[in-house]
């Protein structure tokens, strides 16, 4: 049994930098594997719906007619299942978290290219962005 068992640790801590970060002024420590949020490369999406089927929380909604890909950030549990299953690797995992929200929002919707036609001349036009913005 002793007294002052913590004293050594306390003195050492006095001469060290703080162990905490001033988040969000300074970004948090992240590794290359960190799961922050899902991002999409709209050019390569072929609207196959694999991500929608594999999503355990139903956060992803793919509209083949309107050629849009939508994710509800507040439903997404960042499990990486969609990124693993994506056949064209258009989904990637960003290492940083999405910023905090003050209201129930977080639905991110983007027009995507859709399946590539074989004839290179007939490129598929992206879904009209103006209409989406109004929604």
């Amino acid at each position: 049994m002793t007294f002052f068992e913590m004293t050594g640790t306390v003195i050492r801590s006095l001469f060290k930098k703080p162990a905490t970060l001033m988040y969000p002024v300074r970004p948090g420590k992240k590794s290359s594997l960190s799961r922050g949020h899902v991002t999409i490369d709209p050019e390569n999406c072929i609207l196959c719906r694999s991500c929608q089927r594999k999503c355990p929380t139903g956060a992803i909604c793919v509209e083949a007619k309107e050629k849009t890909w939508q994710i509800d950030r507040l439903r997404c549990v960042v499990c990486n299942a969609c990124v693993d299953v994506c056949p064209t690797k258009c989904l990637t995992m960003d290492t940083q978290y999405t910023p905090p929200m003050t209201s129930r929002a977080g639905i991110y919707r983007t027009p995507v290219a859709g399946p590539k036609k074989k004839a290179p001349a007939a490129t598929v036009p992206a879904a009209p962005a103006a209409e989406l913005a109004e929604e």
């Binding site: 007294f3 640790t9 420590k29 590794s31 960190s34 355990p56």
Partner: protein
């Protein structure tokens, strides 16, 4: 006999991060009886198994608890693998063992911090959580998640750890071990902590056994139950001894957890030395048809996952018995006879995790 009064403890209480309600029957300041009640955070996760595919359910099994998350997914996955008769690659088994021990390490550090906070020793609380941050960084660097790792899947694991990273991890843990010694010395040798905890909340060996105590609660009372000795994952290839203390008081349970952290570091080092090369996952086809009781040692004790499938993608039944649930009868026993002022500390010594217990 003096008049009895009932004092409600919880579901909102400064020492409890989660809602557990205890009706304390007091005579003067002494607790003579306890009526526990749970049911504040029931989420019905077991029922969800009928609506999700068995491969997707791993994510939900992992979210049963926010602290022992990894071991829940590991237990569920190994149960499904046993039903389907899958031979998981050995490297994956070693990786699972490493992550299990890292998760035990961070859980015990979290508990030591919360416990010190419960005692009013706030600097130790901050110090323990600072060390825990190192373990969480290791978990994030190898799996991608801090507390929800999401790295287990049926048939193996989703991430491999490179040999360089493994060596680096062991080096980091060696340094952590020195810091940990300084931290645990406070619990092992400091007079104020010992005088606060010794002889408080006694649970005898017989009682611990018959009331179904598990994990550090049982081992603190001299019952040498450690599910890791059954040799799931690759624990049968690792040399380790479960930490057992004979006294059965709050101090003994604290010491068990403090010493177990060093066992965890030792197990990780042995795993890194023995880990073979090879694939980390395998192709899984078909669906589980049959039933299995999968058992594992969580930081808080033994967890049992009962899994029943009927050959379709959706399981029929999934039942989890978590360590906190079975530690509640011992908690009632060890609260009898303590002073009202000691109740928060004694409740903390079983490491209650109500999110687990109610699922």
């Amino acid at each position: 006999m003096s008049k009895q009064v009932i004092i409600p403890f919880g579901p909102q209480h400064p020492v409890l991060p989660e809602p557990l309600h205890l009706d304390l029957v007091l005579e003067d300041e002494t607790v003579v009886d306890v009526i526990p009640s749970i049911g504040y955070v029931h989420r019905g996760l077991e029922k969800l198994v009928e609506k999700r595919e068995y491969t997707e359910y791993v994510f939900i099994a992992e979210r049963i608890c926010g602290i022992c998350s990894y071991i829940h997914s590991n237990t569920y996955v190994s149960g499904v693998e046993q039903i389907m008769g899958l031979e998981v690659p050995e490297r994956a088994q070693y990786l699972r063992t490493i992550w299990s021990e890292l998760s035990r390490l961070h859980s015990h550090l979290l508990w030591l911090g919360l416990f010190a906070d419960g005692l009013g020793f706030e600097s130790v609380f901050m110090n323990a959580w600072k060390l825990r941050e190192h373990v969480l960084d290791e978990l994030e660097a190898t799996t991608g998640g801090r507390v929800i790792q999401g790295v287990c899947k049926v048939g193996g694991v989703r991430r491999d750890i490179s040999p360089e990273k493994l060596d680096e991890m062991v080096k980091g843990l060696k340094e952590l071990e020195k810091e940990l010694e300084r931290l645990t010395n406070v619990f092992l040798y400091d007079r104020s902590i010992a005088s606060r905890l010794k002889g408080v909340g006694m649970l005898g060996k017989e009682d611990a056994y018959y009331l179904g105590a598990v994990g550090p609660t049982a081992r603190g009372s001299g019952v040498p139950i450690d599910l890791r000795q059954t040799g799931y994952n690759v624990y049968d290839k690792i040399n380790f001894k479960p930490v057992v203390e004979m006294e059965g008081d709050s101090y003994a349970r604290c010491i068990v957890r403090a010493k177990e952290m060093f066992t965890s570091i030792d197990i990780i080092e042995q795993c890194v030395k023995k880990i073979p090369d090879g694939p980390v996952d395998m192709k899984v086809t078909g669906a589980p048809n049959g039933e299995f009781f999968s058992r594992a040692e969580q930081p808080r004790g033994e967890v049992i996952h009962y899994i029943k499938g009927n050959g379709t993608k959706h399981l029929v039944r999934h039942r989890v018995r978590t360590p906190t649930f079975t530690n509640i009868p011992p908690l009632v026993k060890l609260l009898k006879g303590v002073q009202l002022a000691d109740v928060p500390v004694v409740v903390l010594t079983i490491d209650p995790c109500i999110g687990c217990a109610e699922r």
